[in-house]
């Protein structure tokens, strides 16, 4: 019954599964994002305080959530790779890092553009913003460390350890608005209890979040194929795979 799980440790199997998933994930992502954008930009009602500016939530929040989720996935895959020596884990971590870094940058930039009209400043050294910036530095550190080694296997292991060490920042980013007095607003969706947002505003946000996640899945599957090919260049299954 669990064979599908064990097969995930096999590079050729994962390669095939990833290739098959990409079009589905992209298609579903396009649907979710399409609905979310139309509903969020045109249909959802104005916010009482922020007016139309609140609509930036529809790209900012999914980007930020994704930046944290991707780091967690990267750290989990790294841990699996280190503990059980499963090379697919390293491939997942290596594929996820640049995606996560790009969404962290997106979160910072979209947040900055939202901050200007709302708080009057493009930037503030407040706990949430600072820890998110640190997250970006951690991503860059992991990517730099991986590429600094001549032996790719050793680079993978070193980057994996760093990813696991840095995961301590993820709960810090999330709980920063709870633990400290922050300019940034508190958690409205990802919290225990009901979300603090009316349905007409919430649904497009959930759709955008889902769309971004599906998009990450699609891009991950794409990059994963590349990472697996690079790591297994000498293997027989690669010869079959590139003939297609």
């Amino acid at each position: 019954m669990w064979t599908w799980f064990y097969k995930l440790a096999s590079p050729p199997h994962v390669f095939r599964v990833a290739a098959a998933f990409v079009p589905w994930l992209l298609g579903l992502a396009a649907l979710a994002l399409g609905y979310g954008l139309i509903d969020g930009l045109a249909i959802a009602p104005l916010d009482y305080q922020q007016g139309d500016a609140f609509r930036m939530i529809y790209v900012h929040v999914p980007s930020a959530l994704l930046s944290l989720t991707i780091y967690t996935v990267m750290a989990a895959a790294s841990a699996v790779a280190l503990i059980w020596r499963i090379k697919v884990g390293h491939a997942v971590a290596a594929a996820s890092a640049p995606i996560g870094a790009s969404f962290t940058l997106a979160a910072l930039v979209t947040g900055s553009l939202w901050g200007r009209p709302m708080w009057g400043t493009y930037w503030a050294w407040d706990p949430r913003l600072t820890s998110e910036l640190i997250l970006l530095f951690l991503y860059v550190g992991v990517m730099s460390l991986r590429s600094a080694f001549e032996d790719p296997a050793r680079g993978d292991r070193a980057a994996a350890l760093l990813a696991v060490v840095g995961v301590v920042n993820v709960p810090i980013v999330h709980f920063s608005v709870v633990w400290w007095n922050s300019l940034h607003q508190g958690a409205t969706v990802v919290r225990l209890g009901a979300p603090k947002m009316p349905g007409s505003m919430l649904w497009p946000l959930l759709a955008m979040w889902l769309g971004f996640m599906l998009f990450y899945g699609a891009v991950l599957c794409m990059r994963l194929q590349g990472e697996l090919l690079n790591r297994e260049r000498q293997a027989l299954w690669v010869r079959e795979a590139i003939k297609s």
Partner: protein, 226 residues
């Protein structure tokens, strides 16, 4: 002749200290750097001493962080270069014990030295004597944490080209909470209010790091030595 754990620890600490003191200039360099960097700020900003006090906690802590980074490279490098590190890892003693001993010795000659020198720097920045106790305690806790973060980073970057740059890239983001709370603690002490909250935070980060970092640093060394 088998050596017990505690004896091995003391042996390695003693070895590290002896080796460090054979080259006193190497020990002094980070301290001198600490002094120089601290003087750059008032020179560059040409502030009155009273105004300098406002930015002094941040300047002190930033300088301490940067000068600690300088000495971290030496933690494993010379032993890795001449093969001693491999011999130590094959010695039958727990690699974690060896890492703990080396890091403790490293802190004694870098972090502890920084704490001792800090009153001089603090006076140059206009920090009142009443704040010294809090400042030195916060620096002590911070440098211990930093030595451990640096041990992880150093373990990962031994022998890499541009290893020091990578080391800084790895350690600094993880060290920013230290900077924030260390400077906050010193700030509170200067203004006379209670620094207890910030100190508790520094202490808890220190304990957390001292507990988990040895494992991470050992894992890092194993990856590098394989």
């Amino acid at each position: 002749m088998t050596v017990g754990g505690w004896e091995a620890f003391l042996l390695i600490v003693r070895r590290e200290l002896v080796l460090s003191f054979r080259r006193p200039e190497q020990l002094l360099q980070p301290l001198v750097f600490f002094l120089i960097v601290t003087t750059l700020f008032p020179l560059g900003l040409s502030l009155q001493l009273s105004l300098l006090r406002d930015i002094s906690p941040g300047v002190l802590w930033t300088a301490a962080l940067l000068s600690s980074l300088l000495s971290l490279d030496a933690l494993f490098k010379s032993d890795a270069d001449d093969g001693t590190l491999e011999q130590l890892s094959l010695s039958g003693q727990s690699l974690t014990l060896i890492v703990v001993a080396k890091t403790c010795a490293h802190w004694l000659v870098s972090g502890a030295a920084l704490v001792v020198v800090s009153p001089i720097v603090a006076t140059a920045l206009g920090i009142p004597v009443a704040a010294f106790a809090t400042m030195m305690l916060s620096l002590a806790l911070g440098t211990v944490t930093l030595s451990w973060l640096g041990a992880i980073g150093a373990g990962l970057t031994i022998g890499l080209r541009r290893g020091n740059v990578l080391l800084s890239l790895i350690v600094l983001p993880l060290a920013t909470p230290l900077l924030i709370f260390g400077a906050a603690a010193t700030e509170r002490a200067i203004s006379g209010s209670s620094a207890v909250g910030a100190m508790y935070f520094l202490a808890s980060v220190c304990v957390f790091t001292c507990t988990l970092a040895p494992l991470a640093a050992t894992a890092a060394l194993r990856i590098t030595l394989e």
